[in-house]
């Protein structure tokens, strides 16, 4: 049970039960991308309103497992008010947190997102956690094609 709790942290369960900024497409959305992992069925739209290089508002729609849903929800909270470069930096740090062997000590930047650390112990589930982030990055880059992490 203990190691399971590292994956299904209270914060993750909470964000899965009550996803923040969901379902929501901010008024005046400037950037949108579609993320889909066909094998799992996780599917999200990530919407951002960017003005003068700042992410003013962000929301998401779609459905997925607890890990992908919580990851998306936490991401939207973390991104609001950030500059686009900061969001890109955060993408890199979260990506490292989920995929790199070494420990990532960037707690200040990560904040609440450190709860995603437990996912690393479940290699089959890493793609669930990274899907919203890759989709967000795709949105910022103006990607038209569907993003996938499978």
């Amino acid at each position: 049970m203990n190691d399971l709790r590292e994956l299904y942290e209270e914060v993750i369960l909470d964000h899965n039960r009550n996803p923040r900024n969901y379902p929501k497409k901010p008024e005046g959305t400037t950037h949108t991308a579609h993320g889909f992992n066909p094998l799992c069925g996780d599917e999200f739209q990530i919407h951002l309103r960017v003005k003068d290089g700042v992410i003013e508002d962000v929301g998401f729609e779609g459905a997925g497992c607890a890990i992908s849903t919580a990851s998306a929800s936490l991401m939207t909270e973390a991104l609001k008010g950030k500059r686009v470069e900061e969001a890109e930096k955060l993408f890199e740090v979260v990506h490292d947190l989920l995929t790199r062997e070494e420990q990532v000590d960037d707690d200040e930047l990560l904040g609440k997102l450190t709860v995603l650390t437990g996912v690393k112990e479940y290699p089959m589930r890493v793609k669930c956690a990274t899907l919203p982030w890759h989709t967000m990055k795709g949105a910022l880059e103006g990607k038209k094609e569907t993003v996938s992490t499978e």
């Binding site: 399971l4 299904y8 069925g41 997925g64």
Partner: protein, 419 residues
């Protein structure tokens, strides 16, 4: 809802379960500290020692290429390969071993029929009938040949229980119908299709029939003559045999009229740059060096299964299915997807508000292996309005104790999610 005590009932009498379990080395291990409960048999079954030793014995003693050299090992390899073909032929009721083509698996068998049999006779506006219960491997090959020719697919609808709606089945047939392709058993729901009755209808209209038997052959006796179909496809690895080997059975008159699927060695009688003369079936469809060890392993799997009896295995599995279905009712929020009768030992379900992948991960930490996802049957998922399901599928070596472990694992899932 309360937790019920597990029911203690005798396992089916026809099987010596302990002996059967002893035949499968992989079952005797711990996963995440718990004894493994393997309930992903619909994806692939485990292999008995008889199969593992047949593979190893072939490589240790007999390995050579088939149908070529004159030396002793080549003769032994050829004999072993052809003996496996004979066993497979007898196993499904073929009239002659030459009606059995060794392929990589069900998928390749269906592609072979789609391209070598159907494609040359398909014209724009022609129709192929499929059912709403098909695995992607019995949809996409037909879609590919249809796209190339301008033919179209027609689909037999599925009801709320997961049975085919056959009231208007016959009205799907017309002068443009060129093929009926259907599963024997639905991999996603377990529904056993009335293949014999459906084949009768197709034959009345002169339409050839292919049956995807991947989920059937290990769980019931299959007799292609009794069914009356034209092609029957199945995989070795879902019937206790190796991966990478399967069989296509076809009527000899069809096989003889079909063009090769791939070109290469083994499939020709004479080659010149002006043209080649093809070998008769089944060699015509077995270009290149085949998976000889795989075929030998498949032959061993057939013998193993025949010794147990596919019907006895199926009866034991159905008993487990009934027990599991009954106990699953205890779990708050659980909904079984697919309740049509008759049903093979496949239990697909969703837990309200909990994604199948979370169910799968938590069960795994309890040592219980199930399949989660769309099960390569997206149209079935769409029909039932779910993105994914969890599936427990049973084999001859599973036990009621293992069903209890599954049920306990599902309580754990609810516990983690605070239900």
């Amino acid at each position: 809802m309360t937790r019920h005590a597990p029911e203690r009932m005798p396992e089916s009498a026809a099987l010596d379960l302990e002996r059967v379990r002893a035949d499968f080395p992989v079952l005797h291990q711990r996963v995440h500290g718990r004894p493994l409960v393997y309930l992903d048999n619909g994806a692939t079954t485990q292999k008995p020692l008889a199969v593992i030793e047949a593979l190893s014995g072939y490589y240790r003693h007999d390995n050579a290429n088939v149908h070529r050299a004159v030396h002793t090992l080549a003769q032994r390899a050829t004999d072993a390969y052809e003996a496996a073909r004979q066993r497979v032929a007898r196993f499904i009721g073929a009239q002659a071993p030459n009606e059995v083509v060794f392929v990589r698996g069900t998928t390749e068998a269906i592609n072979l029929v789609a391209w070598s049999f159907l494609r040359p006779r398909l014209r724009a506006g022609d129709e192929i009938i499929l059912t709403g219960l098909e695995h992607h491997s019995n949809i996409v090959p037909w879609q590919l040949v249809a796209e190339e020719t301008g033919a179209r697919l027609r689909v037999v609808p599925v009801d709320e229980q997961g049975a085919l709606i056959l009231d208007d089945f016959e009205s799907l047939f017309n002068a443009r119908t060129r093929m009926l392709a259907m599963a024997h058993v639905s991999n996603a729901l377990g529904t056993i299709l009335p293949v014999q009755e459906m084949t009768d209808v197709a034959r009345r209209h002169g339409v050839p029939v292919l049956i995807d038997g991947a989920q059937a052959v290990a769980h019931q006796t299959v007799d292609v003559q009794a069914i009356g179909c034209d092609f029957y496809a199945f995989s070795g690895h879902k019937m206790y045999g190796p991966t990478g080997i399967g069989a296509l059975w076809g009527r000899m008159s069809h096989l003889q009229a079909m063009r090769p699927y791939q070109g290469g060695g083994e499939m020709i009688r004479r080659v010149s740059f002006e043209g080649s003369e093809y070998a008769p079936p089944p060699a015509r469809f077995e270009a290149g060096t085949p998976h000889i060890a795989g075929a030998v392993g498949l032959g061993a799997a057939v013998s193993y299964l025949e010794a147990i009896g596919p019907d006895a295995a199926g009866a034991h599995e159905r008993d487990l299915l009934q027990y599991a279905t009954r106990r699953a009712q205890e779990i708050p929020g659980l909904r079984v997807i697919g309740t049509a009768e008759p049903k093979a030992a496949i239990l697909s379900f969703v837990l309200e508000g909990i994604h199948a992948h979370d169910v799968g991960t938590i069960l795994d930490t309890e040592g219980v292996a199930v399949r989660v996802g769309h099960l390569c049957a997206m149209p079935v998922m769409q029909r039932f309005g779910v993105p994914a399901v969890a599936r427990a599928s049973f084999a001859v070596y599973n036990t009621r104790d293992e069903v209890d472990r599954l049920i306990a694992g599902l309580w754990k899932v609810n516990e983690v999610f605070g239900r």
